[in-house]
Amino acid sequence: MTHQPQTAARLLESLSINEPEGIDLEAIAWLSGAKVKYRELDGCDACIAGRADVGRAIISIDNRSLPRRQRFSLAHEIGHWEWHRGLQLLCSKDDIRGSGIKLKGLSREAAANRFAAELLMPGFMLKNAMRDFNRLDMKTVRDLAARFDVSLTAMAYRLVESDVHPSLLVAYGKDGRHWFVRSKSIAERWFPKNRLDEQSGAYDILFGGGEDDRFMSTVEGDTWFDVDWADQVDVGEQSFRTQDNEVVTLLVAKSDRMIAD
């Protein structure tokens, strides 16, 4: 039978999985013909080797990663097996046996990440879970991350992207901004600065060794944005350090002036 790729939501529905606690990734992988092995990997966080002709695959996960990172990696590889079966996302044989691994298409990596986010934090479950919370801050993120067994970054990213509240998530290293995601409801002019402002709590965490913010504080918008009148709007700011020597900040809009038309 020819393989028909399924979305993460459809896959969960086909197995009647309705609660985060029921998302058994290894069992889901097994049912699609993939075995999961945990071992020390030096060249990647996780990888998959499969035979589409017989529907068999072996997913390897680096067992030295944090458990929630391993879980995300597994969901990511299941995404490849579901959607990129029969594709070699490596440059050539030489890259497998030779010097290194180079990915052909970053968009497929992004697709696998999206699949993983939707498999681990399905929209309908997230919507139900959010009913227990009336605001978006890191306490909400932390509680939901624990329930869905994902990292703080993964949950915060998903909540911002899902637009549960107009917000942004920004990651900085000492060399400047690494990435950010913005809710659809926030106007595009609100683009985070390239470098951390010394007035921000995130600066103290990254450069001063400060502890993660316990509460969300309110700051003027020009701490984070170069928009001319940014000092006229308030934003909620709460930051935490990640394993990758980054600081990640959740920024929550406190003014309707940040909302897209």
């Binding site: 058994d24 049912l31 013909g33 075995k35 990647c44 990888c47 080797a49 035979r51």
Partner: protein
């Protein structure tokens, strides 16, 4: 004689089945209403029952999958001598899997390559893949 009786019973059963199958949904509903049945409530209860049965079956599938993968892990641990060293590999020379991807990939170490090599062998080892894995997707 016995065969004749059975045959008549079979014919009767066949006739009843044919009549049931020939009855339209509208006729069934009319008949049920005439008997004072609440067809909407009955349909709802049947729907709920069906959904419950499907959920129960899916739960069993996941539970069976969990048990099967655990058996597979135990089997690998019990293999004092790895299978690939006991038997000549079935894998064709120069084989490279048709599906490959790596997350945050960089240079492979020697032990990465050894592990991949073992995985490639396992992909061709029918004994390493039980019948209990779902075949519907293959």
């Amino acid at each position: 004689m016995v065969n004749d009786k059975m045959s008549k019973l079979d014919l009767l059963e066949e006739a009843i089945n044919a009549e049931i199958l020939a009855t339209t949904t509208e006729e069934v509903l009319e008949e049920a209403k005439a008997d004072g049945e609440d067809t909407t409530a009955f349909a709802k209860s049947m729907d709920a029952w069906l959904q419950g049965a499907i959920a129960q079956a899916d739960l069993s599938r996941l539970k069976n999958a969990r048990e099967a993968l655990q058996r597979d892990r135990n089997r690998l641990q019990d293999n004092v001598v790895p299978m690939r060293k006991r038997e000549a590999t079935q894998r064709p020379g120069g084989f490279v899997p048709d599906t490959m991807a790596a997350r945050n990939g960089k240079e492979l170490s020697e032990r990465d390559k050894v592990a991949l090599d073992e995985d490639f062998d396992e992909l061709f080892d029918d004994d390493a893949w039980g019948d209990d894995q779902d075949k519907t997707d293959k």
